[in-house]
Symmetry: C2
Subunit: 396 residues, 2 copies
Amino acid sequence: MTFSFEIEKEISNGLARVGTIKTAHGEIKTPAFVAVGTKATVKGLTPDQIKETGVQTIICNTYHLYLDPGAEQIKKLGGLHKMMNWSGPLMTDSGGFQVFSLGAAYGKGLSKILKKSDELLLSEQSDEEDKPRIAKIDPNGVMFRAHDDGSAHYFTPEKSINIQHNLGADIIFAFDECTSPHESLHYQKEALDRTHRWAKQSLGYHKLKNTGQALFGIVQGGRNEELRKESATFIGNLDFEGFGIGGSFEKEDMTNAVEWVNSILPKEKPRHLLGIGEPIDLFGAVEKGCDLFDCVNPTRIGRNGMVYTKNGRINLMNKEFRDDSTPLDDCKCYACKNFSRAYIAHLMHAKEILGATLISIHNIYFITHMVMQMRETLLSGDFLSYKKDFLKQYYH
Amino acid sequence: MTFSFEIEKEISNGLARVGTIKTAHGEIKTPAFVAVGTKATVKGLTPDQIKETGVQTIICNTYHLYLDPGAEQIKKLGGLHKMMNWSGPLMTDSGGFQVFSLGAAYGKGLSKILKKSDELLLSEQSDEEDKPRIAKIDPNGVMFRAHDDGSAHYFTPEKSINIQHNLGADIIFAFDECTSPHESLHYQKEALDRTHRWAKQSLGYHKLKNTGQALFGIVQGGRNEELRKESATFIGNLDFEGFGIGGSFEKEDMTNAVEWVNSILPKEKPRHLLGIGEPIDLFGAVEKGCDLFDCVNPTRIGRNGMVYTKNGRINLMNKEFRDDSTPLDDCKCYACKNFSRAYIAHLMHAKEILGATLISIHNIYFITHMVMQMRETLLSGDFLSYKKDFLKQYYH
């Protein structure tokens, strides 16, 4: 397997570090922001445009690609790298997050959660149909209905890993259950036991095959210190190549959870904080020893006209930007080098595709370069002053 | 004014020719396909991507840009070239076509056409409102309602030219009335008289200003030979820098109309066949002496999954393409060099922006290079055999 993680520098009085991940498709200089390519495309960008933002790696979505076009189909097309024409490192998530959120929430939203013997039933009544929509968790896996056509599917750890083998990304993730922070402690414990059992199964199945992919285990445990530490210990002791830190966090819980976990995880392996991407969270996560981050925000909010700038987010749909001849921000991305806020605002108002593309390019560039600058300042020793200055200007 | 047209080669026994238009923003090697950038963007493509298709020039839409963001606003932003970051030659149309079609057709579609003294009333009853929506033509101009908010506007030749001066394209067009081929001969004559009077007014107003832009006059006359010839004679005798050939054609009428007109227009000036772009029409138009063409089809049909190939159009939404690992066509465009039909079909089914962008890139490349090849074969003397082979394979 072509996978390694080398730490170039550790911050002596903390958890932060600078490193390099090596994969069969090239290096990832860490800490690094990972662009989200849900359905095998970073929404609105060509691979050339993605590369130009400075992004080193993309994470695609196992749940979505399993449903359409299908993992076997992608394998037939030569795998994810070839299909989407991305020659750099690629990741896929485990599908767990979507199975539990999108799958269970099919239709009009969850209406009740029932405990029934040792199986948990997430039942939801559709307004339009008599049939309840159900996502059903049992000790072996989860039955869910697809968000698009309501078709029934069953995911197990083995199935998730098998799908990810067919997709062929460089870094893949163990199947886990991502719980809401509002669940009871009782439920968190049950779910964590499942996640740990599934981690071992994911690893066991993965070891049987010889795909050359690096498998990351996922630490869960919600906002509970004891569970987080238990999970970091359990998952950290398994033979994974790296770790994901999962969970739907309340903002104030995140940095604590990351610190608890990263103080325990073996430091010689990389840590990916899943689904986190706002500036203040990224500074906190890097400081507490995370190496990788992914988040849909740069493209998702971008398509709605929200733009990251050094002085904070702006909503380009506001009238004041219609005659603003300055660039989106003081930055060297393709959008800022070539277009004014007024033009991009015009494109957004006219619902022109190019508007979403240009803002997405800028937003990804912004976050990617912010994290790159964290790396630079960790190396130069100026991280804390960079953090202070950046956050002061951004959240002024 | 930096504008010239030089003919490099004329076909001795016909009307076709090869030439070069020079503008302040560079050359256009003719015959040439002009990409449509309705709202100051070729839908889905960055300027870099447009350039990479081989497109030399873009035509933008006066009606749409007048309504949003406004011509004064574009002038303030440095003009159309600067705003949309296109450094090559640019054109704007006169707005006439949209005023008469979009403007008049506001709401649920035209319900009646009334002749009322010397003014023509296009009246339409909305199902949802009591107020009729009206586009009203009088000898001096046309009152119309915008397609988006129903606001009232009045266009005259002077106003159209003034807007185009503010937009600042290299080539602009006289204000004209584009009639339906289904109008009566009586109406065609009336409309043609208006178009001719408006052509003189457009030219007169344009000459007063010193903008350095080249003004093209537009020949109309529907499918009627006498009117077409009358129009070519009238417009051809005015001091325009080039000519547009307008009209909503029935397919079989087009080549005739073009031949009538181009046999009369002064041959030392370029001729732009407006809104035409399907392969068979382009071969016919080049053969009959047209130099420029624009058409929304490459991008419009592209966004619906229709792809030009050497073997004819294909609908990429068809199931068979979901596992087709070959490129869209045997071609050197960015989409064909890097992606399979199966991947682009996946993007289209998933409603991913990148799908529309890639097909649009391919379709523009296809049409642009087809016309480039016409130019090459006109120079080498192989035009007729290229035409025969191409059309045989395309319409097999």
